[in-house]
Amino acid sequence: MTYRSALAVTADGEVFEGRAVGADGVATGEVVFNTAMAGYQEIFSDPSYAGQVVVMTASHIGNYGVTAADDQADRAWTAGIIVRSLSRRESNWRAEGTLGDYLQQRGIVALADVDTRRLTRHIRDHGAQPIAMGVDISEADLREMAANAPSMVGRSLAYEVSTKAPYTVEAIGETRGRVVAMDLGLKRDIVDNLTMRGYEAVVVPATTSAADILDLDPAGVFLSNGPGDPEPLTQPIAAVRGVLGKVPLFGICLGHQVLGLALGAVTFKLPFGHHGGNHPVQRLADDKVEITSQNHGFAVDPWALSEGEAPTVTGLATRDMMPGLMSSPFGEVVPSHQNLNDGTCEGLRCLDIPAFSVQYHPEAAPGPHDSLGLFDNFVEIMENN
């Protein structure tokens, strides 16, 4: 085994030693941890990770190799990867290559043999923060790079990752209609979930106006996941305000935050975000719990739409951490889903217009399929409209 030692230094000065296993060079980004035990390729290719360094908490990464079918985007947006053990050999009937080669080909800087649990605990206790990592660079330089790296707050990364020009993905089977999908960092499996339900997906840039969207005469508008802070995304927020009530709308992740902002709620940054495949989310309509795939650093605070105030809760999250009926310029809104780990808002539903959103990832990829039915709900709303 050729051993190239490498370092990672956080903005607050913690140093982690490891071995370089990805592309050459140096990377900086906001360091976050993901607790999913499989699905690394989907994670590393998810545009929502733009500007971030991902620590995988699972011990072995790369075991089943990589395959083109699992990619969520054409290129990798993840700034860097830190793992405990990178498998040099892949084994799976689907595999087309090793993860190590994949990382190098896609230019992702990666560290292995790191005490990832120590790093995870550091993030948990001190918050997500910038990290700088690389080979052939001094600890002091990395420290300085990390300290000077920009915070995620205020960064409109969605514009950077969004498609520059609209494109169309054909429906599978008989076409039932057209969905305009606003690409804020769109994952491929979301498009698949629309097309396999008979909808043609017209994927448009994040800067597309309401008028341009409506010109496409869609049956529904979809707001995708994506990276960065939702607050500076003034163009998508304006576009959403322009289409709300006119066509059914469904938002996921960053799309959910954009809908929340369009309705008049506010967003805030979570201490270290939700990144993993095991988050319990309760559907407030019937108390059913879904195990969800999550990947977000910001969240919607729905209390801005309510007269009330959030209670302080110790112990298990409670229902009263969410407001009841809320009002917005677009009519009444209710929180539809709640994260049972920390009680935060995981979904919004407009009662007077056909619009809803969830903070998590019903398309999974990676993660559990418990919430795939939300795409069917979207279809239902579009058909009934």
Partner: protein, 1091 residues
């Protein structure tokens, strides 16, 4: 939804004695359930015949029935206790079977008892192969393709359609006879023809073979609101074809992509929904074709299982506890995750480590068994290890096994294969055996490539590559020998890598040819030190409040600071025959008692089945191998006041001296005293000095010497090689001829050819006079330095010479006279004083009339402590733990840990349970070598009823009338006469062999003579096969005359006829027959007995 208020009393059914395939995991699950249900305010009624369980401690239930788990008995308990509900899913297959029987008989309906957890329908849908398949297909889940055939033509066309290899399963065959794989048409014709002929309905199932496919298990929890979570995913290293209990297993799954895993997850949940498991945990097993990813559901277990115990320990998610809460109405989001306290149980644990479980086998005790592993489980225990990576966890698990290996190779034990030619070695890889993993290590060490090893073993190449990384690191270690010898700091990277790959100091010492202490010091000097991480269910996403730790070699250590003085309790490691749940019971009690006394208790153990490795049992849990290195590391991390070694059996005891020499304080009796009791010469001198008699004995280093010793002390003698522990290779010898046979067997050419031969001068033969017809007596006592507490005295049913673990015993002793008893008690106290015992001592005596001979003294906790505690009501292990930490018995009385006085006004019987059903070719006689896997207890005012209850609890149902095949060895005839008379008076017809018949004729006992085996049409075998025999009493006649008896006993065993092999057992059995069946079925709770 929340806790149900319409039920008050819940009946909890345990799993009975420890048997292969059903071990202490059900004590763990039952204890958790009983605890949480009582905490929730329910009245818990418990039935379990196993006295060595924590769950049957009277404080864990409102009414504890140590009664046989049969439908008749449980019905009487229901009649008496009138439970509102019955929870059958926590007591293994035993509980499920008895529940099915009761449900079908309408008992639950009659007494208005609701089945909670799983209903009869769900149980049957899961357990019936046909219904299961149908149910799975109904929800779109694939199962192996299969067709029923009733003729050869049908069979042939089925096989042609499915393609070879195919599995053949004859219908309605008990125990899977005739089941097997056919690899080609020729093979198939033979097997199918046989299958059709043995099936009572002339039908076989021709099924697609999944041999060699990848094997996976998912542990699913479901609540009544249809919320479902996967608690743990498990991948078997050994592919399909090896029972999962005999496989090396890994958590979480390593070689599936998320796409495949999530589809499997969806199917597992759909499986629970379709089967109709309303609430609780289930295990769903899948097979995956490695070439195509095709996935089949193989089976599901609609209850808590061995795998769920493993999953609970592997993740920190307490499946049984949550299952109990779900059964009484809670939903998953209403229950908090114990470990974080702040997040709900409706989540899926995320692991940032790898867990490896390795089975432990005891094949040496069953010489008739083949060591090839298959679909019937044969392992007797398991060890689990946690590491940050698979190589680390695997090596830790292998050294946890205590099988002589300190990891994957790099130990003395690897020499077994060092000279094996490559061609032979590669063939070994095809055959699954307990040693295969080490053979894989050896093959990789030689440079065999990953693909070849994977092709032969059918291990996934990913695992083989990881194993290959271990052997590559081994080569690096070997290359660094000079640096290591010079203590050169340049060796540090190699040392650190080695430790991160799980190499033990012992392996490094072997490779570097240095003492282990040298390696430890080198690590200390170069700062390559262990760190402890927490098992927290969430990969560090949330803070953990429960210190459940494992060692690894990383940057950061997470051991929380302690506030109170700490005591380390060393557990007993993987279960094995002779060291099982009884010792875990003692360790758990020590932890409970010391916690209560204000200590912080720290448990170290590596057995995932146990209560001791429940993170709730002790203040801190270290899931670690029980080796000097691993224990010293915990001692360094925790700085305890003392370490308790005398409660976990031989495993911790073996570490005592090494720990003491390295400055660790041992609680209670000191290692020197333990050694003194084990050293034959020192101990004999001590006995002589104290005036305690021992049977005459001697030592021989040659065959000639052996004969001289026998000349001197007389026949019969008990012989064994000096180095062997636990009764291995021990034999009672009645003649010089037998002595020479024995010497050939143990020391002769036959043994040395296999490389296992012994040198008589290096391992001298120990010879003891065997006291015929002596009664063996066991004493368990606690000594505090001045006062002696006799926990109890047990009289063995079988004579001295049958291992105490295999013998039934009765307390209080029914036949020991006052004078002999006084001698037993005074000898016990004299020895305890002389050995400076602080804590427990167990002494075995042989009593012949008023003569008392000391057989063995062990200054430590014994196997009988839980039994005697249940009988006397005195928590002996708790008392002992406190005494070890300096309390006196007087102080404990003042604290009410020890009752002021206690009396037992009933008879309690312990009976052993032997694994004959797993080793069908093994002769079922009892001897000096222990082979029991578990035990049961029977309680009654009368010894006969108590024995009958115990026998019934082991599964033996004695006939009430019919014919008895009765044949005794000469020396047993005098005692056996009474049994024959009693049976005859009960109306049984006796069939006897000639000698026995003549003897009975002389005393006027009616009987019918039968032919000697093979010498006439009317021999015992023919009678047994004709169904003319309902009970067999056959005692062995010494090794040469055993073959006829052996055939008879095997025939009885295969025909399911009760078979008694000792004359004392026959007497006890007749007494229980006289008591009548109704008395055996009358239940009474432990709380009631001790009122």
């Amino acid at each position: 939804m929340a806790r149900r208020t319409d039920i008050e009393t819940i009946l909890l059914i345990g799993s009975g004695p420890i048997i292969i395939g059903q071990a202490c995991e059900f004590d763990y699950s039952g204890t958790q359930a009983a605890k949480v249900l009582r905490r929730e305010g329910y009245r818990v009624v418990l039935v379990n015949s196993n006295p060595a369980t924590i769950m049957t401690d009277p404080e864990f239930a409102d009414a504890t029935y140590l009664e046989p788990i049969t439908a008749a008995v449980v019905e009487r308990i229901i009649e008496k206790e009138r439970p509102d509900a019955c929870l059958p899913t926590l007591g293994g297959q035993t509980a499920l079977n008895v529940t099915t029987e009761l449900a079908k008989a309408g008992v639950f309906e009659r007494y208005n008892v609701e089945l909670i957890g799983a209903g009869l329908d769900a149980i049957e849908r899961a357990e019936d192969r046909g219904r299961f398949k149908e149910t799975m297909e109904g929800v779109g889940l694939a199962t192996p393709r299969a067709t029923y055939a009733r003729s050869m033509a049908e069979a042939m066309s089925a096989a042609a359609e499915i393609g070879y290899p195919v599995m053949i399963r004859p219908s309605f065959i008990l125990g899977g006879g005739g089941t097997g794989l056919a690899f080609d048409e020729e093979d198939f014709i033979t097997r199918a023809r046989y299958g059709l002929s043995v099936s009572p309905v002339g039908e076989i199932l021709v099924e697609e073979s999944v041999l060699g496919w990848k094997e996976y298990e998912l542990e699913v929890m479901r609540d009544r609101a249809d919320n479902a979570v996967i608690v743990c995913s498990i991948e078997n290293l050994d592919p399909m074809g090896v029972h999962t209990g005999d496989s090396i297993t890994v958590a979480p799954i390593q070689t599936l992509s998320d796409r495949e895993y999530q589809e499997m997850r969806d199917e597992a949940i759909r499986c629970l929904q379709a089967i109709g498991v309303e609430t609780g945990g289930s295990n769903v097993q899948f097979a995956v074709d490695p070439a195509t990813g095709r996935r089949l559901v193989i089976e599901m277990t609609p209850r808590v299982s061995r795998s769920s115990a493993l999953a609970s320990k592997a993740t920190g998610f307490p499946i049984a506890k949550i299952a109990a809460l779900l059964a009484v109405g809670y939903t998953l989001p209403e229950i908090a995750n114990d470990i974080t306290g702040k997040t709900p149980a409706s989540f899926e644990p995320a692991l940032d480590y790898v867990v490896v479980k390795v089975p432990r086998f005891d094949f040496a005790k069953f010489p008739s068994a083949s060591t090839t592993l298959g679909t019937s489980m044969q392992s007797v225990g398991e060890a689990m290890a946690i590491g940050r990576t698979f190589p680390e966890a695997l090596q830790k698990a292998l050294r946890s096994l205590e099988s002589g290996h300190k990891g994957l190779g790099a130990t003395e034990a690897e020499r077994a294969w060092i000279d094996t030619p490559d061609t032979v070695l590669v063939e070994m890889l095809d055959r699954p055996t307990p040693d295969r993993i080490f053979q894989v290590g050896e093959a990789l060490r030689r440079g065999m490539d990953v693909a070849t090893v994977a092709a032969h073993t059918r291990f996934d190449p990913w695992f083989v590559d990881q194993l290959s990384e271990i052997t590559e690191v081994r080569h690096e270690i070997e290359a660094a020998q000079l640096l290591a010898a010079a203590a050169d700091p340049a060796v540090r990277p190699c040392l650190r890598t080695a430790k991160r790959y799980g190499f033990s100091d012992a392996q490094l010492a072997y490779l570097w040819q240095r003492p282990e202490d040298y390696v430890r010091q080198l690590r200390r000097d170069l700062a390559v030190q262990v760190t402890y991480k927490t098992v927290d269910t969430c990969a560090a996403e949330f803070e953990a409040t429960t210190p459940y730790m494992y060692s690894t070699f990383e940057d950061e250590d997470e051991v929380p600071p302690a506030e109170k003085p700490r005591v380390l309790v060393l557990g007993s490691g993987p279960n094995r025959i002779g060291q099982g749940i009884e010792f875990d019971y003692c360790c758990v009690h020590a932890s409970f008692a010391l916690r209560q006394a204000g200590y912080e208790t720290v448990m170290v153990n590596c057995n995932p089945e146990t209560v001791s490795t429940d993170y709730d049992t002790s203040d801190r849990l270290y899931f670690e191998p029980l080796t000097v290195e691993d224990v010293l590391a915990v001692v360094d991390a925790e700085r305890p006041e003392a370490v308790i070694v005398q409660l976990g059996g031989q495993t911790p005891l073996n570490l005592a001296s090494a720990l003491a020499e390295r400055g660790v304080t041992i609680a209670g009796t000191q290692p020197a005293s333990i050694d003194r009791a084990e050293d034959r010469e020192q101990f004999s001198a001590l006995c002589a000095q104290l005036g305690i008699r021992q049977p005459p004995h001697g030592i021989a280093t040659s065959a000639g010497e052996a004969e001289q010793v026998v000349d001197q002390i007389g026949l019969p003698v008990l012989v064994r090689p000096s180095f062997v522990l636990g009764g291995r290779a021990m034999r009672v010898v009645y003649s010089y001829e037998e002595l020479s046979d024995y010497l050939t067997d143990i020391y002769g050419e036959g043994m040395s050819d296999s490389g296992a031969g012994l040198d008589l001068s290096a391992a001298p033969l120990l010879i003891d006079r065997f006291l015929e017809s002596a009664t063996e007596v066991d004493v368990d006592a606690v000594f505090d330095g001045s006062e002696m507490l006799i926990g109890g005295v047990m009289e063995h049913v079988e004579e001295a010479g049958v291992h105490s673990g295999d013998s039934a015993c009765v307390t209080p002793p029914p036949t020991i006279g006052e004078e002999a008893m006084a001698a037993v008690l005074s000898a016990t106290e004299a020895l305890a004083r002389a050995l400076e015992v602080r804590g427990l001592i167990n002494i075995q005596f042989a009593v012949k009339g008023n003569d008392v001979f000391l057989l063995e003294a062990n200054p430590r906790g014994s196997r009988t402590v839980p039994f005697i505690s249940k009988a006397s009501g005195v928590p002996l292990a708790k008392v002992a733990a406190r005494v070890m930490m300096g309390a006196t018995l007087a102080e404990l009385r003042a604290e009410e840990v020890l009752p002021q006085s206690f009396r037992q006004d009933f008879m309690a019987v312990k009976e052993a349970v032997l694994p004959w059903d797993r080793f069908p070719e093994e002769d079922i006689i009892l001897g000096p070598e222990m082979r029991a896997t578990g035990e049961v207890m029977g309680i009654s005012e009368s010894a006969g009823v108590a024995y009958g209850k115990a026998l019934l609890a082991t599964g033996v149902v004695l006939p009430e009338s019919g014919n008895v095949f009765f044949s005794l060895a000469n020396r047993d005839k005098a005692i056996g006469l009474a049994a024959a008379q009693a049976l005859s008076m009960q109306g049984f017809k006796l069939y006897c062999t000639q000698g026995t018949a003549r003897y009975l004729d002389h005393y006027g006992v009616p009987n019918e003579v039968v032919d000697k085996v093979g010498e006439g049409p009317n021999d015992g075998l023919a009678l047994i096969e004709a169904g003319e025999v309902h009970l067999v009493v056959n005692t062995p006649r010494g090794s040469r005359a055993r073959s006829d008896g052996r055939k008879l006993r095997l025939a009885a065993q295969h025909a399911g006829i009760p078979c008694v092999t000792t004359v004392q057992g026959a007497l006890a059995a007749t007494r229980s027959l006289q008591a009548g069946r109704d008395a055996l079925h009358a239940p009474r709770s432990l709380q009631d007995w001790h009122r």
